[in-house]
Symmetry: C2
Subunit: 331 residues, 2 copies
């Protein structure tokens, strides 16, 4: 599949990169990555598509890279971080909802029984999301998210959730942007749950965040226009929904896609089946000591098809244990 000029060009680039980093280590765009295959593949791809005169040069306008969020840019164990937010909101709102004491799944949340609360699967989670994410204006919800994300801490690590982002991925985002890429988040998580902090934490502005959403309505309250969040599903940005969300928001097929679960399979498939150079990357959670180790049997971030088919499709699999020097940013 690879043409000779490309192989030669890539080889020349890898040589140039190796030479450059021997001269000055500060030039390494991915210092938290071990010098293994995935790091080399990322750099070779980026250099190949951005070097003037490269046979596979991609114009800046087409340099679109999409990243999943949960388990890809930040951790997702023991459950999606947005579920912690939902549970905290249920506790905060309980005084206004006395009926929740008797009503599942809310009753289990209030008793602190996470397992029972999640026993109803996605249907229950959706019900809890609607009850906690709707009924206020977009600006009120933004403030609620901001207050939570700057104070809440993870039950196991004690860190703020935004401290549980992956340092190696922050470096990839920065590297791509320095090379003229636009970086987008394409997540199953709530679009308005990510936007308030994605710019500060990832450098991704709100207009480059794509996610699941509920419907909203424009209206005038006390003479002031507001956008009100409604308890009605608008879009689920997961699995086959991801290419649809990409087309809706970006309107152009990305050249690079990064994910970690089978919920990202269609996004990688859509991205890498376009013409010209494409790059697919899957983060495999293999580090039980520094993070978590899970794949085929996990209730969160299940990864099976990506492992089975990814390599044949030319996708790069990152082993967090072997390929990452650092997991989370140092304070």
């Amino acid at each position: 599949m690879k043409t000779n000029p490309r192989v030669l060009f890539v080889a020349a680039i890898i040589g140039a990169v190796a030479f450059t980093s021997a001269v000055t280590r500060a030039a390494d765009p991915l210092p938290s990555w071990n010098d293994t295959g995935p790091k080399q593949a990322i750099i070779a791809f980026v250099e190949n598509v951005t070097a003037e005169g490269s046979p596979e040069f991609v114009p800046p306008a087409e340099r679109i890279a999409v990243f999943d969020n949960d388990g890809c840019l930040w951790a997702e164990q023991p459950m999606y971080f947005q579920a912690f937010f939902i549970f905290d909101r249920i506790k905060a709102l309980a005084p206004q909802h006395p009926e929740w004491k008797e009503q599942e799944p809310f009753a289990s949340v209030l008793k602190g029984d996470v397992k029972a609360a999640l026993a109803g699967g996605e249907k229950s989670l959706l019900e809890m999301a609607m009850a906690t994410h709707a009924g206020m204006t977009t600006e009120e919800f933004e403030k609620i998210v901001n207050d939570w994300i700057t104070t809440a801490t993870h039950p196991k690590t004690g860190k703020r959730y935004t401290e549980m982002v992956y340092q190696p991925m922050l470096e990839v985002l920065t590297y791509l942007r320095a090379r003229g890429f636009k970086t987008f988040i394409v997540s199953g998580g709530g679009i308005e749950f990510m936007r308030p902090w994605a710019e500060r934490v990832y450098g991704v502005p709100p207009e480059q965040v794509i996610g699941s959403s509920i419907k909203t309505k424009f209206e005038t309250r006390d003479g002031q226009p507001v956008i009100v969040r409604l308890p009605e599903l608008n879009f689920i940005d997961d699995k086959a929904g991801k290419p649809v969300g990409i087309q809706q928001h970006i309107g152009r097929r990305p050249v690079m896609a990064v994910g970690n679960s089978d919920g990202d399979f269609e996004m990688l498939q859509w991205t890498t089946s376009g013409k010209g150079p494409r790059f697919g990357l899957i983060v495999h959670h293999t580090d039980a000591d520094r993070e978590w180790a899970y794949d085929r049997e996990s209730h969160v971030g299940r990864l099976a098809r990506g492992l089975d088919e990814g390599p044949n499709r030319g996708w790069t699999i990152v082993s967090m244990k072997d390929d990452w020097k650092t997991i989370f940013p140092e304070k």
Copy 2:
């Protein structure tokens, strides 16, 4: 409502701009505008929010400007240009749809009776849009639009539709981007009808085009993933839908909004009621000689509430006849 420092600062800027353009005319960012109130107001606003040290400085990330398309960036008479596209598509598809010969509104289109074809109002137009905009992949549709937009000509002027864009607005788009703004289109027109040419004609990339849409579906055909366009309405980006579309796609309230009809009223209202400096602009079609003159009674681009309430809301009204030197770009 205006504070003294702001008035002084804006006055100083206008003085500086006048001085600069006396020194070098090449510095005029809006050469196709007469030196009347609207041009002065646009420049004063942009200088005010982008000058370092300005009391009303807006950081680059928040410099979001939204523009309607039909009647604002390009003409819209005697009917929306997308309607010409729909009619041409009906004629092209007619051999595959023998039933259209007897079925309204298609029968009238095929007989060339535009008035009868449009007699059913929005419902008929939507039916014709569905019949012509769905049933193919996103890439096939992009090609259809590209083929049409590069060949079809306007029945009155004989120009290509993309030659009927407003030169003064192209200058505003360019000026804003030079000052660090991100420019977005927020149109009632079809999002995938505008994207194929918006970058070439307006300098607005597909990810900054917001419009009405139909639903789509990701699937695999002959082993290749495709996104298929479905004959089902997804979103109408008009009137109260415009602030909703802005929030969905941008996630941040714009600081500047430009429209021309009452379909843009809520977008201007939402934009200009935010805190800090805001700018609302309405293009009033007053030039029957060089373009068209219409407002309160027009079946396309009706403008009444904007004229009645706009000035009190601090919005600037542009009279095409009095404020624009040029309408369409010179070849």
